[in-house]
């Protein structure tokens, strides 16, 4: 299991009636990565995550932690940390009761570790869930599942509805307490700008298909964003950029691969931002077809 990918998905397809939720999705997640799963609403993020934990049967070949999710669901659920998109902790419960409950349900859960993690937060063990703010509930939930001795964490929109401070505390705890170079985490979100610096890799879904699956390091290498004067706009357009956008009076053209030298010299190379790339690859279906 040492050099195996934690997640290995090949040609996953999932249909609900006539709607295709996942269309020939192939992705791999090695160890030690922070992978962002990006997509607009309905792009298939939640379906993919549910398939990964064995909650939805899919066509294709799928291995998670070396297990087949639908066949080995019970075992799998004890070996990974998962927060579903409709995550709710029981409102009536006290935090210490949840710790006891987790100890009974999860063989790999450490109550001691959960208590240590909770000390980072302002949540106390005697607090009732219903007395906590949304941000505190999210932190409690993260503390509970990060106390499972697992190799993989799957978070479906974990910061939805949280204010900016709570989101920051959430991600701080994740980086601090989970990311140790061995464990990986898959996070779905559409707050693309915010998670960009956090990620090592990104998977973009568009209408059930993988629009892009790449490391952030490779994004800097593969995609070229050129900042240029309006006068160069026609020349840039002729070189078929993926996207052009305006910012502070200058225009940026985003290319997949280096454009010809005479084009490159017309602009100044800037960092292609994840949100621009996301817009370019998931907004316009025609461009996506060309991409594939």
């Amino acid at each position: 299991m040492n050099n195996m990918n934690l997640i290995e998905a090949k040609n996953l397809t999932l249909r609900y009636g006539k709607k295709t939720a996942l269309n020939d999705v192939s992705v791999a997640v090695p160890k030690g990565r922070v992978v962002g799963l990006l997509g607009h609403n309905g792009a298939g993020k939640t379906s993919l995550m549910k398939a990964l934990v064995g909650l939805l049967p899919v066509q294709g070949s799928l291995s998670v932690l070396g297990l087949e999710p639908t066949k080995n669901r019970q075992q799998l659920l004890t070996e990974l940390s998962y927060i579903p998109d409709v995550a709710v902790l029981p409102r009536w419960a006290k935090v210490h009761e949840l710790i006891t409950l987790m100890s009974q349900l999860q063989p790999k859960f450490s109550a001691e570790r959960a208590r240590t993690l909770l000390k980072r937060t302002s949540v106390s063990e005697n607090d009732k869930i219903k007395s906590l703010s949304k941000g505190m509930v999210a932190q409690t939930h993260l503390a509970l599942i990060a106390a499972i001795d697992a190799k993989l964490m799957i978070l479906d929109e974990p910061t939805l509805g949280l204010d900016v401070i709570s989101r920051k505390s959430f991600y701080e705890m994740l980086i601090d307490e989970w990311c140790d170079g061995e464990r990986s985490v898959l996070i779905s979100t559409h707050q693309v700008e915010e998670v960009e610096a956090l990620l090592s890799d990104v998977i973009m879904l568009d209408e059930g298909r993988v629009a892009l699956s790449i490391s952030l390091e490779d994004i800097d290498r593969r995609f070229v964003a050129l900042n240029h004067d309006p006068a160069a706009a026609d020349a840039m357009a002729a070189a078929h950029p993926l996207l052009r956008y305006r910012e502070q009076g200058r225009t940026t053209s985003l290319f997949d691969g280096a454009p010809p030298e005479h084009i490159t010299s017309l602009g100044q190379r800037v960092r292609p931002s994840l949100v621009d790339l996301f817009m370019a690859l998931t907004r316009n279906p025609a461009l996506n077809n060309k991409q594939a």
Partner: protein, 117 residues
């Protein structure tokens, strides 16, 4: 979320630049250890791999060195080298533009306040 990263350079490069500015201010001093990769990742809320790349960039410039099992340390003479580099950068890149602006505004050295910090 703080801090914000611009689109002018890769994030690891921007972090390396920030750390270099701190080194120039003597934080941490030469011979002392830098915060760990995890501490920096948590402080800036960025991926640990990005931090590693930033530290590698500083190491490539001879500013920090890795001591096995102990982490990264500021090298002797790092501040001096950094200062020399920054001065050169200023004189070559920033000064011509600044000089042109001063000329345009008709400002000379005696019009400028050199005292306040």
């Amino acid at each position: 979320m703080t801090p914000t990263w611009t689109d002018q350079a890769p994030i690891y490069q921007q972090l390396a630049d920030r750390l270099a500015v701190q080194l120039l201010d003597g934080s941490p001093p030469e011979g002392e250890a830098l915060p760990s990769v995890r501490a920096l990742a948590s402080q800036y809320v960025i991926n640990p791999l990005t931090v590693t790349r930033a530290l590698q960039a500083l190491s490539d410039h001879g500013l920090v060195e890795s001591r096995r099992g102990l982490g990264m340390f500021v090298m002797a003479g790092a501040r001096e080298r950094l200062l020399r580099h920054e001065r050169e950068q200023f004189l070559q890149k920033d000064w011509p533009a600044l000089r042109a602006k001063l000329k345009r505004l008709g400002l000379t050295a005696k019009d400028l306040n050199w005292e306040s910090t």
